[in-house]
């Protein structure tokens, strides 16, 4: 049982990495990876929300949509659930832990539109995960996202000072680097 969870976790973090293998959540991946500090903040916030949203979407699907035979409404209702979870989390965090709010701060609302969050929710349904599996899968997806985001931010900080040919400067070299990183992550295929 525990072994299954470990396999699922590693599969979500490395083998089926959401950003570099499944190409979900590319927008924050390119947008927030300019500074290591912001990347870490974004990672923390995403981990938090992704895990929570994964579970909440599962509960909505299992206990509301399925009994009412409304499974075709899943995308719509998941968006609603995610938006509410993010907003509610932000309010609670701001009240209970100003310190955490300072770290996660502006990133929390941004995550609402992170397609990795909706992706996890939908993949949970497609792969018929149960409650615990949804939790682990959401956490794994978030950890994979954080890993890649932080790695990439560290690389981009060095790229800024690197001697890049003029046509490739800025976003272009970022894209190329992301492609190479994606190729590198292909190496994890077949790990589990």
């Amino acid at each position: 049982m525990l072994g299954d969870f470990a396999v699922l976790l590693i599969a979500a973090v490395l083998v089926n990495n959401f950003v570099l293998v499944q190409f979900l959540g590319l927008c924050p991946f390119m947008g927030v990876s300019n500074k290591l500090e912001t990347a870490i903040g974004m990672s923390a916030a995403t981990t938090f929300v992704l895990t929570l949203a994964s579970v909440c979407s599962y509960l909505t699907y299992r206990y509301l949509l399925e009994p009412l035979d409304l499974t075709y409404l899943r995308t719509l209702s998941f968006i609603l659930v995610i938006a509410v979870v993010v907003q509610f989390t932000e309010m609670v965090v701001r009240k209970t832990s100003p310190l955490l709010h300072r770290v996660l701060g502006v990133y929390l609302p941004l995550i609402t539109t992170n397609c990795a969050v909706l992706g996890v929710a939908l993949l949970n349904i497609n792969q018929a995960h149960n409650f615990m599996e949804s939790l682990i899968y959401g956490l794994g997806a978030a950890l994979g996202f954080s890993l890649v985001l932080v790695l990439f931010a560290a690389m981009r900080e060095r790229l800024v000072v690197a001697d890049v040919p003029e046509p490739f400067q800025g976003a272009a070299i970022g894209m190329i680097t992301a492609g190479l990183a994606s190729l590198a992550f292909m190496g994890f295929a077949g790990l589990v």
Binding site: L65, L70, S77, L80, V81, V92, R94, K95, R102
Partner: protein
């Protein structure tokens, strides 16, 4: 009731979605009231950057009110004691373009410290009341003096002094402001050894 609804799935779908939306809306509304936060957390961060001279040159009664005004959208260039460094730190925090200091509120002066000529002090305590940071020590009819480390150089004590015994003198730089003294004068002839040799030869 339920049977008639399941005969019309569109109605069921509508009811389910509207129900969800209402439920979530109520939840968020409740959370907004229950977890309401007093004050703007941003103003704390801004206040941490401001120099805490409490001098009021920005037009606000102190650093905290100015920090709140910045958080509300006031411009960041009204703090002469903080100078360029503060403006850059604020611009970095708020992610706006740094602007030059607004000369309307004063110019960036070199850091000064108040000095009380103690022989002339009559012990009136007026400067103690004026000092925003409690940097002046003393009691009625007793000589006052300034705690250098606490003084922010805000000038506010100079005006109330009835005998004008307070001077603002430049703050002596600590170890972090020390720099190598420049060479006193450059004597070109002496620097290059071969030049000196040729001079000697010429002589």
């Amino acid at each position: 009731m339920l049977e008639s609804l399941s005969a019309q799935p569109i109605l069921l779908a509508l009811i389910a979605l509207v129900g969800m939306a209402l439920l979530f809306g109520a939840l968020l509304g409740f959370a907004a009231v229950r977890f309401e936060v007093e004050g703007n957390p941003l103003s704390d961060q801004i206040n941490g950057i401001l120099p805490q001279t409490q001098c009021g040159q920005c037009g606000y009664p102190g650093c905290r009110p100015y920090a709140e005004a910045i958080a509300e959208g006031d411009s960041i260039n009204k703090c002469p004691p903080g100078g360029e460094d503060t403006i850059h730190a604020l611009a970095d925090l708020l992610d706006v373009e740094p602007e030059p200091l607004d000369s309307e509120h004063g110019v960036e002066a070199e850091p000064t410290v108040a000095y009380i000529r103690e022989a002339e002090c009559i012990g009136c305590t007026k400067c103690i009341q004026a000092c925003p940071v409690d940097a002046i020590l003393g009691a009625a009819k007793l000589m006052h003096t300034v705690i250098i480390d606490e003084c922010t150089g805000c000038d506010l004590c100079v005006e109330p002094c009835p005998v004008d015994c307070i001077d603002m003198i430049p703050r002596k730089g600590g170890i972090q402001h020390w720099f190598w003294p420049l060479p006193s004068e450059v004597r070109t002839g002496d620097i290059i050894a071969t030049d000196r040799e040729s001079e000697q030869v010429a002589a």
